[in-house]
């Protein structure tokens, strides 16, 4: 019996969420290709002004829509499977899903208004949507719908956990539910910042109810959310790496408790570090920036714990499969299985991203790369590969269980993660190098006539070629993924055995080896709130000392 037979409603919710995510990544991926080719001057089928709408649509669809929908789909499967119980109220479940879809449509149409004359809306404010750039209210309301809808998914998970606990007093929370709930608690905490930004400031401002807002305040509220959202993207990938990658490797997770500690550390540390995105902002003292820099470096700890645990679990799997030797076990891993290879390659890329992330986090070194193309190069390794490639990889394993249909075009699926990986190596390496030369991000045509960027190592022709070729490889990899999932989706049920099952092997060291206090979410949320108040109380008080709207800025464009 597949998951779809055991829990048809939840399978449909997960399937629908993942379907929206796939549509988002298809459209967003095409826009990403156009964007990369435009910036390098390889192909310019639209104006430099339209570039910003395409950039916004790419960012929103990939970083906000694809990730959020896939996450709620994955967690719906994980919570339902690990608790072995369905959601409480199907009307509530479909209501939050509908809100997410409507919100996404509203935001996307608003951005489309910049490209299509007959839509009287605009939203080319980039996915980091803070003042003074101003969009139509529909853009902000749409994104609010997406976020609030995803809160509904979190409520469903908590609801299921509450009901399960009443029936299973004293039991440890199953690991997949623990991970899903702690991620959603982090999401509740961090998205409160962007909710305040949108509801209190941006929507009234865009409606003309208030003449001006304080750009620094809206930036600070955005980045309160904007760094933690990175972990909202990453933790579902960690969910996959901790609970499924060991199975794909042929083994078992080394330690359940380490996984719980890692997720709790992210719950505690993800939000009180957002100021490290604002090192270039005047109005926040260097001392406060230094404090948040040190907090940021604490986040290296759970990432290193994850690297150790997942690699150890992979080695365990490889040795179960007959692998031997100090490094020879690597050959015993199932590299031809895309569910495994995609996750493993995503992990390698994430390690590289971690080193670049430490450059971003350093208060002094950050000045060298701040607002340069280095930064998009970095987050194409994190969300663009560690997360996106893990999601694609797990789809090859999960989709048959959600649809009851065997995976199609398996050779294409087997090749796809490698194409994505190599494409991203070329593109991201070039973006990092351009960033080192000072080439700015968020600009459509950075080749100003009087500017000479002194690119180390090679000239611009070489890095542009890398970006053009890398983006093309990524797009081909995306097409491979789309062909596989679409063919599987529209295939016939029962034609062949699924060849996969939802069994998740127990960790070598189970939950009972760790203290029960790890499962006390009330305590950890309280600690997280205290840390947030400490980290953000002083800067926010300083920013609003002359009033909530002073010094204000009128909307741009006027």
């Amino acid at each position: 019996m597949a998951f779809v037979d055991d829990h048809p409603l939840e399978a449909k919710v997960a399937r629908s969420s993942i379907a929206v995510a796939i549509i988002a990544v298809a459209v967003g991926g095409l826009l990403g290709l156009l964007q990369a080719w435009f910036r390098t001057g390889f192909l310019r089928p639209f104006s430099a002004v339209d570039y910003y709408a395409i950039l916004t649509a790419h960012g929103v669809l990939m970083a906000l829509v694809f990730t959020t929908f896939f996450t709620v789909g994955l967690f719906t499967w994980g919570v339902t499977r690990s608790l072995d119980r369905g959601f409480h109220d199907r009307r509530f479940t479909w209501a939050w899903f509908a809100l997410m879809v409507l919100g996404t449509a509203l935001a996307f149409v608003s951005v489309l208004g910049n490209l299509v004359g007959w839509i009287p809306l605009h939203g080319a404010v980039l996915y980091t949507f803070y003042a003074p750039l101003e969009a139509s209210p529909t853009f902000y309301l749409g994104l609010a719908g997406l976020v609030v809808g995803s809160w509904g998914a979190g409520v469903d998970y908590l609801w299921s956990l509450y009901a399960w606990r009443k029936e299973n007093p004293g039991e440890r929370i199953p690991l997949q539910t623990f991970m899903s709930v702690s991620t959603m608690l982090l999401w509740f905490l961090c998205s409160a910042g962007v909710a305040v930004e949108v509801v209190v400031f941006l929507v009234p401002w865009s409606l003309g109810w208030i003449p001006r807002v304080n750009p620094l305040l809206t930036r600070t509220l955005f980045w309160y959310f904007g760094h933690a959202v990175v972990y909202f993207w990453l933790l579902p990938a960690y969910f996959i790496w901790y609970t499924l990658l060991p199975k794909f490797s042929g083994g078992r997770l080394v330690s359940d408790s380490i996984a719980r500690v890692v997720f709790l550390l992210f719950l505690l540390l993800s939000t009180p570090v957002g100021v490290h995105h604002q090192y270039g902002d005047p109005g926040i003292s260097q001392g406060l920036k230094f404090v948040q820099m040190t907090s940021t470096f604490f986040i290296v700890l759970p990432s290193l714990l994850t690297a150790f645990t997942t690699v150890a679990s992979m080695e365990h799997g490889a040795r179960q499969r007959g692998g031997t030797g100090r490094f020879g076990w690597l050959r015993a891993l199932p590299w031809e299985n895309p569910a495994f290879s995609g996750c493993a390659l995503a992990g390698i890329m994430f390690a590289a991203a971690g080193f670049g992330g430490m450059v971003n986090a350093g208060l002094n070194v950050n000045a060298m790369v701040h607002n340069t193309l280095w930064v998009p190069g970095h987050f194409h390794l994190t969300v663009g590969t560690a997360v996106a490639l893990s999601f694609m990889a797990v789809s090859y394993w999960l989709l048959p269980q959600l649809t009851g249909k065997r995976l199609r075009f398996r050779t294409l699926a087997a090749v796809q993660p490698y194409l994505w990986f190599v494409g991203m190596v070329f593109m991201s390496n070039a973006m990092h190098r351009e960033g080192l030369a000072g080439v700015p991000r968020r600009t459509s045509v950075p080749q100003y006539s009087q500017v000479a960027f002194n690119l180390p190592i090679t000239g611009f022709d070489a890095v542009h070629l890398q970006i053009v070729a890398g983006a093309a490889m990524l797009f081909v990899a995306l097409l491979c993924f789309l062909v596989v999932v679409t063919a599987t989706w529209f295939g016939r049920r029962g034609e062949a055995p699924l060849a996969v099952n939802g069994h998740v092997p127990e960790p070598l060291s189970g939950p009972d080896a760790g203290p029960r206090i790890l499962d006390n979410f009330k305590l950890w949320v309280a600690v997280a709130v205290v840390l947030i108040v400490i980290a953000y109380g002083i800067p926010l008080a300083s920013i609003i000392q002359h009033g909530l709207f002073a010094p204000g800025s009128a909307p741009l464009p006027t």
Partner: protein, 180 residues
């Protein structure tokens, strides 16, 4: 389906999935190739960056990035020689403004070299004749030159003509000046 502790035997029985992948053994060769590509690309990048650090005056890090050249900036970063704008001063003279430009030139190439400043163009588009040139410099030699220009009272300098002569070949270029 609630997670419960299982033994290795249980795991093997319950965790069995049909092997539909191992027939695609050619894919296994993609893994080492795919890992080798970033090793080569990133290794080349690392070596290149280290070389830049030890490249001295030739390093890209020592070449200015920006719209225009100000004091301390390289006037002709694309040439193998060095022409640093060592001074740019503007002062009122009663009936106008006098611009003084000074350049420290060094022949870091391996052929005879000469550098010359030519006319200045103001922000209003007016051309002010003038300039100065070094003597011919042998490889490794340095020299400084200074040129003065009399500008109208409300004008500011926008650009200056420069000529690098290397091994007898002239290479002229208009260089944008930063605000003086």
């Amino acid at each position: 389906m609630t997670d419960t502790t299982t033994t290795d035997t249980d795991r093997t029985a319950g965790d069995h999935e049909d092997d539909v992948w191992s027939r695609r053994s050619f894919v296994r060769y993609l893994a080492p190739v795919s890992v080798a590509i970033p090793v080569v690309v990133e290794g080349r990048t690392l070596i290149g960056l280290v070389e830049e650090d030890f490249a001295g005056d030739e390093s890209a890090w020592n070449k200015p990035t920006g719209v225009s050249v100000g004091v301390g900036g390289e006037l002709r970063p694309e040439t193998p020689t060095r022409e640093k704008l060592s001074n740019a001063a503007l002062r009122d003279t009663g009936d106008g403004r006098r611009l003084t430009l000074a350049v420290a030139a060094k022949n870091t190439a391996d052929a005879p070299y000469r550098f010359a400043l030519g006319a200045v163009t103001t922000d209003g588009g007016e051309t002010i004749d003038g300039g100065a040139a070094t003597d011919e410099l042998a490889p490794g030699e340095s020299a400084t030159l200074q040129a003065t220009y009399d500008l109208p009272a409300d004008a500011t300098p926008a650009s200056v003509e420069t000529t690098v002569t290397l091994d007898g070949a002239d290479d002229a270029k208009t260089v944008e000046l930063a605000v003086v």
